[in-house]
């Protein structure tokens, strides 16, 4: 071998020669080698090899593939013919010579000499496999290892075709398919009772042959996945870009972190087999997964819900007639056959969360039997709140807290609605609600939205669009949902959307329930209140007056709804500056409420609070203060400090104190309230903004101009209602700010903001 120095010399000369043209090389080498012939020969030979390399070793090697195994024998088994090759190894048709002569299937397991644990697992498992004895399960006769240590299983040789192929070839009707499938479930159940999990159930492992003209399913490879190691089966899915069909593996088997695989994994796989038997395709399209990043495939398997069988058939239009034909029917009939019970049974079997699946194959079989006998099945649509929770859990990083809150608020309203209206077709309706609720959350493909947040408003916008299309068949519920969504927008301060929804709800409710139905009238009240919030006071007033008349006539003068309208009308009047008139109406309403419900009632206290404001605005300050302090006292006693009613009383008392010239007291109360509101409601709520506005007013009067302007600006940008924005310019409390250039800028800004709040999101339909 060369010395280091020699090697270095060869290296240097080779490198230097390469930088020269072939023609120059010879001369160069001759000079450089200076008579060292062997050195020159060495470099020349290397250069020659280099020139003829022609891309050799440039491309990475392909994996070598082993050649076909030659015919031979293993122990008493003579290998006859290779009948299959799969991830686990090769399957051979073999002939057993002793103790009896018969044909068997011999499965040679792929193994690695580097993995001793395989042999141990294998030995442990072969014992348990021998105890299975069921007509639907292929028997395991023997297991052992070749002299080199390659493990093998000897099993009953089943001449059959995969269950899905058999059903299609024979054009079995759905009912016949289900009966065959029940037998498969029974076999799996038997194995489970012997504590054996298959772990790799798929049509290729469920072979059907005919005995006396009747199809008999046989499950092969039971327990092999475990004996051979779970790593192999998980690999089917894990290298998604290279392997074709991951579909039958349960989500927990696809989860590298999940260690405990139980019998419900087989239930899932059975569910997928059922899905394929019914629809002719896998719940997840494996084609779509090709060339997808591997973790994306995993995520989808774990998170995405498959289409219902009926939906799957109706969406695959190109193939649906062939699929229906193989089931002895046409697409339309097939879809209606699958809709309902069969959808639910299948979906329950392929639930991602195994606790929501059928507990065992026999439970699954039992539900299918119930269906075949037209009995009610146990698989029922997942409840609304469950589906919502599930979605939220799944997308916990993309659904903002506010959105979740709104969602739960809405679903609560929906659930309450169901309880209030016990209706005949409750199941259908619940189904629709569930669809609708989950639909709301599908704002867009979550895969495309990773990292971004779905706001409450986006959710509502989506839901609003869905109401028209999704719920048109059930106008009563549709109007109810529009109302609920309208309330949600109202609470978010999105008045044009709220208004539009109330108007639409009114239209639907009016024709479904009648113009003077209590529910319809209630919507009118909400619409009027929205108009009030938008500052459209005279419209609100006339609407409320008409409503009050109707309610008095239809519901009676002391009905809760009627009283509510009275209170709201009073507030509108006061806002219009007709505060004495408002106070008179307010007093009337307050007295009735106190008489009917008592002083400690939530609504009585609200009226008391409102009346105090009206008195304050009509300059009856002493009486206003007395009433407000009384209200605040009751509030604190009954509801405590951190309560919206209490907060309201505090701000209103602060207003009164301000008007009475007790600025220090007012300032203290405003600050206290603001702190409470920010803590409880958050800084962007309209209530918080109003308190900040009031604080600014009193600060202005105390000459704290800088602080006042800062607070005003903050309030405008953080939730102040449009009507308050527009009021800034004329508000007498802010008079001393006039002339300050900053104030002019602020007024202009407020107007612009108010405009954008009301106009930018104009209602879609009026």
């Amino acid at each position: 071998m060369e010395t280091k120095e020699e090697w270095q010399r060869i290296k240097d000369l080779f490198g230097a020669a390469l930088e020269r043209t072939p023609a120059e090389r010879d001369t160069f080498l001759r000079e450089a080698c200076a008579g060292d012939a062997s050195l020159m020969e060495e470099v020349e030979s290397l250069l020659k090899a280099h020139d003829s390399a022609d891309g050799a070793l440039e491309r990475p090697p392909n994996l070598p593939l082993p050649g076909a195994m030659s015919i031979g024998s293993i122990g008493p088994y003579r290998l006859l013919e290779k009948i299959g090759e799969g991830g686990m190894g090769q399957v051979w048709l073999a002939e057993q010579s002793a103790p009896l002569q018969r044909q068997v299937a011999l499965k040679l397991i792929r193994w690695s000499k580097f993995d001793d644990s395989l042999i141990h697992r294998f030995q442990a498992e072969r014992q348990s496999l021998a105890v299975m004895d069921h007509p639907s399960i292929a028997r395991v006769f023997d297991a052992g290892a070749t002299p080199e240590g390659q493990p093998y299983f000897v099993m009953e040789y089943v001449r059959g075709v995969p269950i899905t192929d058999y059903c299609d070839q024979k054009r079995l009707k759905v009912r016949d398919r289900l009966e065959l499938f029940i037998k498969v479930c029974e076999g799996v159940q038997h194995a489970h009772q012997k504590a054996i999990i298959h772990r790799d159930l798929k049509p290729a492992n469920i072979l059907v042959s005919e005995v006396d003209g009747k199809p008999v399913p046989r499950i092969i490879d039971f327990g092999l996945a475990k004996a051979v190691g779970t790593e192999i089966d998980s690999m089917h899915t894990r290298v998604g870009s290279f392997v074709g069909t991951p579909g039958y593996m349960s989500p927990e088997q696809c989860d590298p972190a999940a260690k405990d695989i139980d019998t419900r994994a087989d239930v899932y796989s059975l569910g997928v087999v059922l899905y394929v038997l019914l629809t002719g395709s896998l719940p997840f399209d494996s084609q779509q997964w090709k060339n997808k990043p591997f973790d994306e495939v995993l995520r989808r398997l774990r998170e995405e819900d498959p289409l219902r069988p009926s939906t799957k058939v109706s969406t695959d239009r190109e193939t649906s007639s062939a699929i229906a034909e193989a089931r002895g029917t046409d697409p339309k009939q097939l879809v209606s056959l699958l809709q309902g019970d069969l959808d639910w049974i299948t979906m329950k079997a392929v639930e991602k969360d195994r606790t929501r699946r059928y507990g065992s194959p026999s439970d699954l079989a039992a539900d299918i039997r119930r269906y075949l006998k037209n009995e009610p099945i146990t698989a029922r649509p997942a409840s609304v709140s469950y589906r919502v929770q599930k979605y939220v859990r799944r997308h916990k990083y993309s659904v903002a807290a506010a959105a979740v809150f709104v969602a739960l608020l809405v679903s609560f309203a929906v659930l309450q609605n169901i309880q209030l209206h016990k209706i005949r077709r409750e199941r259908d309706r619940e189904d629709r609600i569930a669809e609708f609720m989950t639909g709301i959350f599908k704002v867009s493909d979550p895969a495309e939205r990773i990292g971004s947040k779905v706001s409450a408003q986006e959710l509502l916008d989506k839901a609003t669009k869905d109401i028209d299309t999704g719920l048109a068949k059930d106008p009563e519920f549709q109007s109810r949902m529009m109302y609920v969504m309208g309330r949600a927008y109202l609470n978010l301060g999105l008045y044009p959307e709220a208004q539009s929804l109330f108007q639409r709800a009114l239209k639907v409710s009016g024709s479904a329930l009648g113009q003077e139905h209590k529910d319809t009238l209630h919507i009118v009240g909400e619409l009027a209140w929205t108009l009030f919030q938008e500052g459209r006071l005279s419209e609100a007033e006339s609407m409320q007056r008409r409503l009050l008349d109707t309610q008095r006539r239809v519901l009676g003068p002391e009905d809760g709804e009627t009283l509510g309208t009275m209170g709201n009308l009073a507030i509108t009047l006061c806002e219009e500056g007709r505060c004495s008139e408002a106070a008179k109406l307010g007093r009337e309403q307050f007295d009735i409420k106190r008489r009917l419900f008592g002083s400690e009632d939530f609504y009585t206290l609200a009226s008391m609070d409102n009346l105090a404001i009206m008195l304050e605005r009509s300059n009856q300050l002493a009486e206003a203060e007395k009433l407000e302090r009384e209200a605040l006292g009751i509030q604190l006693r009954v509801f405590g400090r951190e309560n919206l009613g209490t907060i309201s009383c505090m701000t209103d008392l602060a207003d009164i104190e301000r008007d009475m010239g007790r600025d220090e007291e007012a300032l203290k109360l405003y600050r206290e309230t603001l702190e409470l509101e920010q803590r409880i409601l958050g800084p962007e709520q309209p209530e918080t903004a109003v308190t900040r506005y009031s604080l600014a007013c009193i600060q202005t009067r105390r000459g704290l101009k800088d602080e006042a302007i800062t607070n005003l600006e903050y309030a405008i940008d953080h939730g102040l209602q449009p009507r308050m924005d527009l009021q800034i310019e004329k508000d007498p409390f802010l008079n001393s700010l006039h002339g300050d250039p900053r104030f002019a800028v602020l007024v202009a800004h407020a107007k612009k903001v108010a405009q954008s709040k009301t106009a930018a999101r104009a209602p879609e339909t009026e």
Partner: protein, 202 residues
């Protein structure tokens, strides 16, 4: 077979780069097992195209082992660098095993050895065991060149990637690669099994 790492590959790579030799010791069996399991898996007649490049395998192995999240490219390159050596080892182990099976007198199952590596342009097969042996000889003379071949050939790294991982200049990689390849091809062509290199003068 495949074992899921107790510690993430990411962490082990980071530790190794920080000078923790134990981390590499933990990493190597992990990557080896993974590559082996996957090679095993792919050795299937089912595959429609019947070929799978080792680089694709390494890429998959990396994905499988490095599930914990986004990785710096730097780490990926170091992973591939380790995998290159191990990929070579996997191929050699396979070839040895099958060769042993073929020759074994008391083997009931006879397997045909077909472990030549296709060298696409020349359509001439390269025996993996001979290549391995030649690489070992090359390493005795020039460990750097041998390493470059591992990275370039077994892991399919580009000149730039190789340079980055080995912390040398791309120009050096190019020059060494040319020579190493010439040296190996010459040796394989001659079918040398022993050391018939240049006899030292003096």
């Amino acid at each position: 077979m495949a074992h899921f790492p107790a510690e993430s590959v990411h962490l082990l790579l980071a530790k190794w780069k920080a000078g923790d030799q134990n981390a590499l010791d933990d990493l190597i069996p992990l990557v080896y097992n993974e590559l082996h399991a996957m090679a095993h898996h792919y050795l299937r007649a089912e595959r429609p195209d019947h070929t799978l490049q080792t680089t694709a395998l390494i890429h998959e192995a990396y994905l499988r082992l490095a599930e914990q999240g986004p990785f710096p490219t730097e780490n990926r390159n170091h992973f591939v660098a380790i995998a290159a050596t191990l990929m070579r080892q996997v191929l050699v182990d396979y070839a040895r095993r099958y060769r042993a099976n073929k020759r074994g007198a008391d083997c009931t199952i006879k397997l045909e050895s077909n472990f030549e590596l296709a060298s696409p342009k020349e359509e001439k097969d390269v025996d993996v065991l001979l290549l391995d042996d030649a690489l070992n000889r090359l390493a005795e003379r020039d460990p750097q060149q041998s390493r470059i071949v591992e990275l370039r050939f077994f892991a399919g790294m580009t000149v730039e990637e190789t340079a980055a991982v080995m912390d040398i200049s791309p120009a050096t990689v190019k020059r060494d690669w040319s020579m190493a390849r010439a040296w190996l091809l010459r040796r394989l062509k001659r079918g040398e099994s022993g050391d018939k290199g240049r006899v030292a003068k003096n």
